[in-house]
Amino acid sequence: MKIHEYQAKEVLARFGVAVPEGRLALTAEEAAAAFAELGAPVCAIKAQIHAGGRGKGGGIKLAKTADEARNYTAAMLGMSLVTHQTGPEGKVVQRVWVEKGSAIARELYVAITVDRAQGKPVMMASQEGGMDIEEVAANTPEKIFKETIEPGLGMQGYQARKLAFHLGLTGKGFKAGVKFMIALARAFGELDCSLAEINPLVVTEDGDVVALDAKINFDDNALFRHRDIEELRDLTEEDEKETEAAKHELNYIALDGTIGCMVNGAGLAMASMDIIKLHGGEPANFLDVGGSVTKDGVVAAFKILLSDANVKAIMVDIFGGIAKCDVIAQGVVDAAQEVGLAVPLVVRLEGTNVDRGREILAESGIALKSASSLDEAAKLAVTVAGGGA
């Protein structure tokens, strides 16, 4: 799960991570009032969307007066902010963060993520703050310093000191940097984060070390023990169809193609997309209905697939294990009768209760094409969707 920058800063501040002071504004007037209240000569007005690269798209402005704060905010609210992470349609700005301007002496980079090879969190630090860190990693990997955080121990002082020396921090900034990194590591562990990225981490002219930006992602599997974090979820930032699918415990990801896919199991769902592509088609989505899917879940899945106007054909690919073919078949029949089937349907069933499943489909009289293998199903779907469009 992702949250906004201002939420990340509020959460991190609770752990003693230094962040600049700021106020949330939902209207231009609130932004002007926030500017006055903060009493700083310069404030940053920052559009809050779940995507990076906001500055280049006009989502970050520096205001020197309350009037400027008001005007910048008025212009940002409601605008579709397009960045390299939002896709061409952009994201609508609904709130801005008004933050005291920082006098920046240096821009650094600090992040924590889970290193899969080690099975442990790793803190990465670099002097190349403000840059695209993936580029730094690709071109000059020696400029990124890493410390593994032992899951049972947490980040130790010596590790933070090592990184602080690598970052070239001295004096007041050194102490502040060490404190910052240890606090960030503690927040990461205690909140079950999957990513905590501070880019840039700035050293101010006064020698303070603060998070100028903050991005935190959380492990969805651990949200059950962080109800307060779950409340920070902003559904307007998430894909409507994906949210609807999640309600029915379906795993759905929207793509750009024309063939709607309904599959059980994540691996088979990916493989079904791949084979469609192999035969010259384009999948419209990834959809894993899971093992314990019910008839209602299948109906919901169908509605989601059909709500995508690009879909020209639907391919159902089920290898019943825990999921039972007869349950899926009944769901398909019910969905076809309830919502109507405007596009061709290709079905491939195999596995648990397959004979009963095929009978249900045959008896229903709905128009569909049966396939006896994944390969045949994909070829048929590509053909009925209008070929390799």
């Binding site: 023990r225 990801i253 199991g265 994540a266 691996g267 990916m270 493989a271």
Partner: protein, 294 residues
């Protein structure tokens, strides 16, 4: 003709009184698996389909000699269950449960890291099966038993249903399987491709290996490096997710292309370089293995 589990494996089921645990206990028993004990704290003394239930894993092991545990307990309590099994000296722990927090697994694996006497399969996996006859053998997990046939191909996979797809093809072609392992789709997990391939290489009855990977992480690349140096048996591979967009988690927590790493293309290149026969078409895994075995 198998690795890790066989007819002599004695299974205990953690979470046996829950709906999943109870349902799959019947399925495992019907397949001929020796399920000797169940564990649910507070329900010791009961039985589930004739299998005695104990309060602790330690007690179950002492009383029944169980040497493999299969875990169906809910995700929130799973780390605890795995550690309890390890503490009781269970040599092989198969965790079926999906949705365990990543930091829980980080702590568990850190703790088990130095313990060579314990091997973990999963979590978030279908389990492990060694077929020994028509609809019989040692089935530990949730896979449909009937699609398997005893035979000469070892299967290791990150995905559940995609494994069934490959197994079905091998059975239809009469090749069968020595042992099939679903290693699971989580980023931090027990057995990986490399360990399984190593075990299959050492198993005299396994003649070929099917390796099914997916986007994310570097398990497949690591296995490719091992195969390149030590491999002698034919390996057929498929990598799911060549069309998956970066930054999106494709169902499995571990199936994500992050920071440009873990793409299917990279994995395929590494495996092909190691001499692994890779098919782009998941319908042709079995056929390709038949050709490889000659």
């Amino acid at each position: 003709m198998s690795i890790l589990v066989g007819a002599d494996s004695k299974i205990l089921v953690q979470g046996i009184t829950g709906s999943h645990g109870s349902f799959h206990t019947i399925q495992m028993l019907e397949y001929g698996t020796q399920v000797v004990a169940g564990v649910t704290p507070g329900k010791g003394g009961q039985d589930v389909h004739g299998v005695p239930v104990f309060n602790t894993v330690a007690e179950a092991v002492t009383e029944t000699g169980a040497n493999v545990s299969v875990i169906y307990v809910p995700a929130a309590f799973c780390a605890d269950a795995i550690l309890e099994a390890a503490d009781a000296g269970v040599a092989l722990i198969v965790t079926i449960t999906e949705g365990i927090p990543v930091m829980d697994m980080a702590r568990v694996m850190d703790h088990l890291g130095g313990n060579d006497a314990v091997r973990l399969i999963g979590p978030n996996c279908p389990g492990i099966i060694t077929p020994t006859g028509e609809n019989q053998g040692c089935k530990i997990g949730i896979m449909p038993g009937y699609i398997h046939k005893p035979g000469r191909v070892g299967v290791i996979s990150r995905s559940g249903t995609l494994t069934y797809e490959a197994v079905w093809q091998l059975s239809e072609l009469g090749l069968g399987q020595s042992t099939c392992i679903g290693m699971g789709g989580d980023p931090i997990h027990g057995i990986d491709h490399t360990e399984a391939v190593e075990l299959f290489e050492a198993d005299p009855e396994t003649e070929g290996i099917v390796m099914i990977g997916e986007i994310g992480g570097s398990d497949e690349e690591d296995a490719a490096a091992w195969i390149k140096e030590h491999g002698t048996k034919p390996v057929v591979g498929f990598i799911a997710g060549i069309t998956a967009p970066p930054g999106k988690r494709m169902g499995h927590a571990g199936a994500i292309i992050a920071g440009g790493k873990g793409t299917a293309t990279e994995k395929i290149a590494a495996l092909e370089d190691a001499g692994v026969r890779i098919t782009r078409n998941p319908s042709e895994i079995g056929k390709m293995m038949r050709e490889a075995l000659g």
